[in-house]
Amino acid sequence: MSKPEACRYLKSHEWAELEGGVAAVGVSEHAQHEISDVVFVELPKLGRQVKQGEACCIIESVKAAFDIYAPLSGEVVAVNDAVVKDPAVVNRSPHEEGWLFKIKASKPAEADALMDYPGYQAFLKTAVADGSH
């Protein structure tokens, strides 16, 4: 699905890969490690309109629930049912089989506000250093 290097990132560790106006969305390798064993995923409904930064999906580990935020505004045009049937795929393959949903971007320029891969790597270093990850 996506190469980490080609993705854009939110500070809340979602990745988005924009291709032809449609963004695939998932969680980063760092996020899957922090979340640990994923046991349940609640995906957004197809057709839902989401705003950039809006909580629209929930990932649950044994211990806790994590909101997943939309990296871009637009319409949810695809969801990955495989992560509902086998939530652990989010841990095994967060950038490929473990993608969550796709958004048809209504404002593609919003992607400029997201971090690119080197920016995200740098962000992870500072976030880990100050313990706020």
């Binding site: 929930i58 044994v62 211990k63």
Partner: protein
């Protein structure tokens, strides 16, 4: 967020080395997991897991009236255990509220040993000391002196037998005094996972040697270090209560579904009158096991309703790795409900269908084969 310095067990360095994710657990810095809760949970169900439970407290009770004192402060009948045996019990106040849930071991008619919860250890000791006035019995709080390791799972007996073969003869709830690395120690065949297992109560100075020894020798038999996360899912599947979350002074043993630890026939004890009155009046609420009928993960505090009417909340709830379903337990104001009764649990603002199920949620086949 408290900025108080967290207490560390003498296994702290081991936890760091093993990759444990350390969290604040009632003021103790302990691992919530090492490699992952699911892996650790499954290891205990199928192989073996080691837990650092050194946060638990220990109190010695010695003297000619040790038993009389314990009978006064415990709901269970402590006279039923002789030397080498342990028993699960509740401590209750005059109102019948649960002050703590404990395991009492007997080593001699005038020498008993109580393992109390971490969060309540200081309060318990003060409360017990107050109740001990007038008894010819001496209490000694040794919570800082002892460390404690639980080794749990179907392979635990085989691992324990390597260096402490005497422990293998213990029945379930057996208790043994022995020397480990030349230090006076205790092994009980008890645990908080629903599997066969043992708890090593040893002086803190040898705790890491005992841990390293069990882990080194247990590795080839499938033993892994386990954190508090797996401890919680394992104990909930087994229907064990977590003090402070499932029971407290606002609830009674009977309400918690633990009426069997209250022995009215043994004679007087603190809280007996209140508990007897409650028994005669009938329960207004009772702890019930709940299982989701759809996918989802209930959490502590989730509201439960029956046909749209609020009926209570879940005290403990999680995803059950063994059942692969959301489970929980909570006090419902319908003590008449039977397994199969339909209800719903509010999760992320959605009513998720669920049903009442008998507890425990899980019964170990292996544990059935351990001599009672």
């Amino acid at each position: 967020m408290s900025t108080a310095v967290l207490r560390r067990t003498s296994l702290y360095d081991s936890h760091k080395q093993l990759g444990g994710r350390l969290v604040d657990f009632h003021g103790w810095e302990l691992p919530v997991q090492y490699e992952g809760i699911l892996k650790e949970h499954n290891a205990v169900r199928t192989q073996c897991g080691l837990f650092d439970v050194s946060h638990m407290g220990q109190v010695w009770v010695r003297g000619p009236q040790a038993l009389a004192f314990l009978q006064k402060t415990n709901t269970n009948d402590i006279s039923r255990i002789g030397p080498g045996r342990a028993i699960y019990s509740h401590l209750t106040n005059e109102q019948g509220g649960v002050v703590d849930d404990v395991i009492v071991s007997c080593f001699a008619p005038d020498r008993y040993f109580i393992v109390v919860n971490a969060a309540t250890a200081e309060g318990d000791f003060a409360w017990l000391a107050k109740q001990a006035e007038g008894f010819d019995a001496a209490l000694e709080n040794k919570s800082d002196y002892y460390g404690m390791i639980a080794i749990q799972g179907p392979k635990a007996a085989g691992i324990v037998a390597i260096d402490t073969p005497a422990a293998l003869a213990l029945p379930r709830f057996g208790a043994l005094e022995l020397s480990i690395f030349d230090q006076p120690s205790i092994i009980t065949r008890t645990g908080y996972t629903g599997e066969d297992g043992f708890e090593f109560i040893v002086p803190s100075e040898i705790l890491s040697r005992v841990w390293d020894n069990l882990l080194t020798k247990g590795r080839s038999l499938g033993a892994v270090p386990c954190g508090l996360g797996a401890r919680d899912t394992l104990r909930l599947e087994a229907g064990y209560l977590l003090y402070g979350q499932d029971i407290d002074t606002e609830h009674t043993s009977a309400e918690a579904g633990y009426g069997w630890v209250v022995k009215f026939a043994k004679g007087d004890f603190i809280g007996r009158a209140a508990l007897l009155a409650q028994k005669e009046a009938g329960l207004k609420r009772r702890m019930m096991g709940v299982r989701l009928l759809e996918r989802g993960v209930p959490r502590p505090g989730a509201p439960v309703s029956i046909e749209g009417r609020p009926a209570g909340t879940l005290c403990s709830a999680t995803f059950s790795p063994t059942l692969q379903a959301g489970i929980g337990m909570g006090y419902l104001d319908r003590p008449d409900l039977k397994p199969g009764a339909r209800l719903s649990v509010l999760i992320h603002n959605k009513e998720v269908p669920a049903e009442v199920v008998a507890m425990p949620f899980y019964v170990s086949e292996g544990l059935k084969n351990v001599k009672a």
